[in-house]
C-alpha cells in the first residue's frame, strides 16, 4: 500500500510540473499542446549537461533555460507572429521530437539515449517531488491573491479589458509563458536526472498530454489540477503493479487503465460530469 502511494507520488511529479506550467500558460490565454515538447527538450538538456559537467545543479539550470526557451518559441509564434495556437503547439512538439534524437546522436553517437550518469550525480528526486506538492498552493496564492496574478487571469479571460487598463496582454503572456516553460522544465529535470539516469528517445511518452488532460480535468484551476495529476499518477502506478501481478491468474489488459485519464477527462469536458470551460481568450 505504502509502495503504491510512493509510486503514485513519483509518477505524478513530472505531471504536476507540466500541468502547473500549462496552467500559467492557458490562463494567460494561450493553448498549450506543446507541454510534451517542452518536457522533452528540458529532459534532454538536464541529462546532457549533467553528463558533461558532472553537476546536477548545472543540468537543472540548463533544463530550466531550455524549457523556458522552448516555451518562448511557442510564445513568440503565438503572441508576436499571431500563428494559430494549436499549429504553433504542434510545431514545438515536432521540433522537440526531431531535435532531441538528432542532437543525442551528434553528441553521443546513438540517437536512442544519452550516456548514463552515475547515481551520486543524480538530482535529488525527493526534493523535486516535495516541491511539486507545494507548487500548486504557491501558484494558487500567486494567481488568485496578487495583482500580477489577476493580470494573468485578465489576459486569459478579457484581454481587451486589460489593455484598456494600460497593461499589455501580450507582455503578460510572454512573461507568464517563459515562467511556465521553466516550471515544465523542472518536470524534465525530474524525468531524466532524478527518476532515470539518462535521456532516452521520446522518454516523455505522452506525459505532456496527460498533464494537459489533468489541467482540463481540474477545470483550469491549480489545486484541482494537482489532484487530477495525483489521480492519473495512481492510475499509472496501478497499471505498473497489474503488469507484474496478474489477478485471478489473468493478466489484466493495462490499456483500460492507460485510457482511463482520457476517458474521464472527455466525460468532464463534454459536461457529463460537472462542466469545464476553457479560458475565454484561448484560441483567439
Amino acid at each position: 500500500m505504502m509502495e503504491l502511494l510512493l509510486s503514485t507520488l513519483r509518477l505524478s511529479t513530472p505531471l504536476i510540473f507540466a500541468a502547473m506550467g500549462g496552467f500559467l500558460c492557458e490562463r494567460s490565454g494561450v493553448a498549450t499542446i506543446c507541454l510534451e515538447g517542452v518536457l522533452l527538450t528540458s529532459a534532454w538538456a538536464a541529462a546532457t549537461v549533467t553528463y558533461f559537467t558532472h553537476n546536477p545543479y548545472l543540468g537543472a539550470m540548463a533544463a530550466l533555460i531550455v524549457g523556458g526557451c522552448t516555451m518562448f518559441i511557442h510564445a513568440f509564434l503565438t503572441v508576436k507572429a499571431k500563428t494559430d495556437q494549436i499549429i504553433s503547439g504542434v510545431v514545438v512538439n515536432l521540433i522537440a521530437a526531431g531535435m532531441t534524437p538528432l542532437l543525442t546522436k551528434l553528441l553521443f553517437g546513438s540517437p536512442t539515449n544519452t550516456k548514463a550518469i552515475p547515481v551520486y550525480e543524480r538530482f535529488n528526486s525527493n526534493a523535486l517531488t516535495l516541491f511539486a506538492c507545494v507548487l500548486p498552493f504557491i501558484l494558487s496564492v500567486l494567481v488568485y491573491r496578487t495583482g500580477l496574478g489577476l493580470r494573468l487571469l485578465a489576459a486569459g479571460d478579457g484581454p481587451e479589458a486589460l489593455e484598456t487598463s494600460g497593461v499589455s496582454p501580450q507582455k503578460v503572456r510572454l512573461w507568464a509563458m517563459s515562467l511556465a516553460g521553466m516550471i515544465v522544465g523542472l518536470g524534465g529535470v525530474y524525468l531524466s536526472t532524478a527518476h532515470a539516469s539518462q535521456f532516452t528517445r521520446d522518454m516523455t511518452a505522452g506525459r505532456g498530454y496527460i498533464a494537459l488532460t489533468a489541467l482540463i480535468f481540474g477545470k483550469w484551476r491549480p489545486i484541482p489540477a494537482f489532484l487530477s495529476c495525483l489521480f492519473f499518477g495512481l492510475a499509472d502506478a496501478l497499471q505498473i503493479q497489474l503488469q507484474s501481478n496478474p489477478i485471478f491468474g489473468q493478466t489484466f489488459p493495462v490499456q483500460a487503465l492507460q485510457a482511463l485519464p482520457y476517458i474521464v477527462t472527455l466525460l468532464v469536458l463534454v459536461g457529463f460530469i460537472g462542466n469545464a470551460k476553457p479560458p475565454l481568450a484561448i484560441g483567439k
Binding site: L77, D84, G98, L102, Y262, L269
Partner: protein, 359 residues
Amino acid sequence: MRPHFPKAAILAPLAAIAVSALVLVLFLISMGESPAILLEAFTSTFFNSFGLGYTLYYTTPLILTGLSVALSFHAGLFNIGSEGQLHLGAVSIIALSFFLPHLPSYLAIPLGILAALMGGGLWGMIAGYLKAVRGSHEVIVTILLNFIGIIFVNYLILYPFKNTEVQNPETVEIGNGYTLPLLSDFTKLFGSEFFLTTPVNITLILSLVTAILCYFFLFHTPKGYELRALGQNRRAARFNGISLETNFILVLTLSGALSGLVGVNEVMGYHHKLIEGFSPQYGFTGIAVALIARNHPLGVILSALLFGAIHNGAREIEFLSERMTKELSVIMEAFIIIVIASQPYLVRFFSKAKKEGSK
C-alpha cells in the same frame, strides 16, 4: 464561387519550401555533412524506381490525412484527430477480415474499404456530435479521442486479433481476398520492373481519385458550398438557414472517414496485417500537408508528395550519413510550417525593414 489562384497562394508555399530547403542544406553543411550525401539522397528519393516507389507509398496516407484536415478547415473546424481516426480505420479492416476471412475479392475489397471509411468516420462523428450537441471544443476532444482510439487499437492488436505465432505486437494476416495489387504488379504486365520490391499500391490511385472527389464536393456541390460558407462566417451561414449542428457532424464524419482510408494503404495494400505503432504520425503530418496546400484538395496531392519525399529522403540520409537521423524530416516539417504559418508576420517584418532601409 470558383476557387481562383492568386499568385501569392502559389508563390508563398514555394518560397517557404525554398527557404526551408536552403536552411536545411546550410544546417547539414555546418554539421559537417558533405553536400554529396544530400544530392545522393535527393536523387534516390525521386530518380530511381525504388526510391520513387517508397516516396509514393508515404505520399498515399499523407494525401488522405491532408484531405481530412483540409476538409474540416474549410468548415472552420480543426480536426487534429486524424491520427486516432486512421488507427480505427485500419483496425476495422482487420476486424472484418477476422470474422469473414474467406470472402472473394470482389466482395472483400469494397467491404474492406467501407470498413475503413466507417471506422474512421465513426471516430470523427463522435467528435462532431460532441461539438454540435455539447459545444465541446473539437481540438481538445479530438486530442483526447486520439489517445483513447490509439490505446483501444493497441489493445485489439495485442489481445483479440493478436497473431499468437509471433512475438511481435501484430495482428493475424488478413484473408487473401482482401489484398490489393501493388503498382509493380501492373508494371510487370508490361514487362517492366519499375516499382519492383516497393510497397506502393493501388491505394495511391484511390487517394488521387478521392482528392478529385473532394474538390468537386467542396467547390461544385451545394453541400460543399454550405460547408465553406460555414467556415467563412458561422453567424452569416446560420442566418441563411444552414444548420451548424448537422454540418459539424457531417464534416467531422467525412473528415474521419478520409483518415480511415489510410488503413487501406497500410493493411490491404502492403503489410496485410496491423502492426502496433504503424503510423509515423501521418495524422499530424496531415496538418502540415493541408497548411501548405492552403486547404485546396488538389494542392494536397502536391504537398503530400513533398512531405512523402521529405520523409523518404530523411530515411535515406540516415542510411547514408554517420551523424544524421531520420528525425531530420520532422525538423524540416516544423520549419516549413513555421514559415508558412507566420508568413503575414514575416512579410510585415521584412517590408518594414525594407522601408527603414530605404529611408
